[in-house]
Symmetry: C2
Subunit: 393 residues, 2 copies
């Protein structure tokens, strides 16, 4: 009991210290460079923390306008949301707009000749063009499978790769630290096909397994490779962040099953569009079956919108600064992320309890320059998330 | 063996006869009233059947334009697709169009104040208006949960209603004939939470169960009520076809958990938007959690489009024939379905192997008239589907 109390006291102290750090970071983020970080007190930080706990789990809450909070600003750190890209898309104007008349795309079917019958041909075309341009993934000899975000494709992959008549569910693993939703997404339906088996580093069970390789990794931003290399291992590569604004593009990924999502590539999280590049047609067929059974296809409206967005990005990269094409999306985003990361780094350096990893620079084939070898955006928001989790214990 | 052979011969004969019927129906559907049904031969019908078997599983295939098929027309009967509504939406013109600029709806979140944080407020508003206008469902005291089609909501309901710590999965049942995808949708992930247990009429297992009540029923079009009334029973009402064009609206449905879908209500299958009306906030919360875990929300673009479509339907019903509102969607659709149903009935009556059920007329509160008490469209396509299944054995 005494031990428990001493832990509690230590934790209370830690909460207080974290609150101070948090408050400082909030101020840096919100007051901006113009005013610089202002003074703060432990009481203020405590109040900020209390308010944050009561705020909705999902939003970026700014209380300063209410005039009741001594000018404090609160960030809810539970979730990321790529709204920072909005300003770019606003600047790009009408060329990004989609117009959908009431009689279009009424059918369930987008392309009856494609095994993935719910894949919009225009979206598929732009996905191939974008990968060819950026050089981040091989599309040749791959079936594109579109999904309602990459979450659905992750589940579709588990379904497709798990043996259907095994005596026990196949183990699903990933090297820690891993995307915090992997365990619950894998286990929420208590499937008899697959089961979360934790950290790939300590995985020693015999038999087949599925290893999730997220690179750059969520949450820590490091480039990742498979950790377990055993017979019967099947790899799923989640390359959601393998874009020039987050990490240097070193080569075209050439894996069996690779996941991407519009949310992270362009910031359009609300469209819920992801795609998988799948080498084995039989695996692709099973993923397609999964999407048939779970949602009978994928929003055609969102696919059409995503196609337009990708096309605009391609044009902006091919003819940057042109009157029709606008500023290069990847270049602008890269600089924007670097700036944010620097702000975070400055803020964290002023505290005592946290440090940020240093990433080596790498040569980006796409940007044709040495670029920060860091998953800038991810880390900015994921480290913030880590703060939040520590605070909540 | 002899017995097997005689069954085979009987089956071959049946195939031939069915082919004749099928060919006739195709002709009636495709040649239309203008030319009337033309003569046909068993050989032609056989060829038509063979071609149908080779045609894609998912499309309505017309071969007449190729000039290589003696003017035959083929229908693939595996799947329905509500493209027949296209002509109405074309006539409605620009008022049905949605315009989505590139910077809109980028965030994951549609409404952070709503427990269903991915529900577009405008879509929710039009859903309530439409139900109030049509009088087919009580919306008061219900949480609206939007889904990627009603399929996702069906799965979300199973997840929400199944006990999480039971010793065995809860039984999921429905009275035969039931929607043909129910068993595979329930069992494809071998969930430990729920399990398909077949026909509700013969269900005699003790303990809790989930009964799916589809009304009007898919595939037979009859109005349905719960078949099993035992302690521990939980009902899910799938009212996808409870709209004036399919069945008389007798009263506002007032159930615990009711599913609807835009696909059947308006014909916009490609938008993949459905909604649930849920009485118990805790059940709604679990359904929302399911959608978070499976797709992190629902396409905002499609919700915005669906909201516009529903708004146009409401206007067309409130001010039918007005210069701004256009012809009443439900009235036009009702007559269109009745006409199709009559064509099918005439065709089937000319054959010998099939009959169609007669439905009593009922008073439709919405159309304010006696209307055909039949789920006209559903049956037209589902009976065709039954043909297909018999032919395939």
């Amino acid at each position: 009991m005494a031990n428990f109390m001493s832990i509690c006291t230590m934790r209370n102290l830690l909460v207080l210290s974290l609150a101070l750090n948090l408050s400082l970071i909030m101020r840096v983020f919100y007051e901006g460079e113009k005013h610089g970080p202002r003074g703060f007190s432990a009481q203020k930080a405590d109040r900020a923390l209390e308010k944050a706990a009561h705020a909705t789990q999902r939003t970026l809450v700014s209380l300063s306008s209410s005039g009741q909070d001594d000018g404090e600003k609160l960030i809810n750190l539970d979730h990321g949301d790529p709204t920072m890209y909005e300003s770019y898309w606003q600047q790009m104007g009408e060329k990004t707009t989609v117009v959908i008349p009431g009689w279009q795309s009424m059918s369930y079917f987008s392309d009856v000749k494609n095994p993935c019958w719910f894949l919009e041909p225009e979206f598929a075309k732009q996905v191939v063009r974008l990968h060819n341009l950026v050089g981040n993934a091989v599309t040749e000899g791959r079936q594109i499978v579109v999904g309602t975000g990459s979450s659905q494709l992750f589940l579709a992959a588990l379904y497709a790769l798990a043996p259907k008549d095994a005596s026990e569910p196949i183990s699903v693993i990933s090297a820690a630290p891993f995307y915090s939703s992997y365990p619950s997404m894998t286990d929420y339906l208590k499937s008899g096909l697959y089961k979360w088996a934790g950290d790939a580093r300590s995985f020693d069970k015999e038999g087949p397994y599925i290893e999730l390789v997220t690179s750059p990794n969520n949450p820590d931003g490091f480039v990742r490779h498979s950790m377990v290399n055993r017979t019967g291992g099947i790899l799923v590569h989640d390359l959601a962040y393998y874009w020039p604004q987050y990490t240097p593009i070193s080569s075209a990924a050439d894996h069996d099953l690779t996941l991407f999502t519009v949310s992270k590539a362009t910031g359009h999280a609300g469209t819920r569009i992801g795609w998988a590049l799948v080498k084995d047609p039989e695996v692709a067929k099973k993923m397609i079956k999964f999407i048939e059974l779970s949602t009978i296809g994928v929003s055609r409206d969102s696919q059409l919108r995503a196609a337009r967005i990708l096309e605009v990005i391609i044009n902006s990269s091919q003819n940057p600064g042109g009157p029709e094409s606008g500023e290069s999306f990847f270049k602008i985003s890269y600089h924007f992320m670097a700036e944010r990361w620097q702000l975070l780094r400055e803020a964290v350096n002023k505290g005592r309890f946290f440090s940020l990893p240093d990433f080596q620079q790498g040569f980006c084939q796409f940007l044709n320059q040495l670029s920060h070898g860091s998953n800038v955006k991810t880390k900015a928001w994921k480290i913030a998330k880590a703060y939040s989790e520590v605070i909540r214990f």
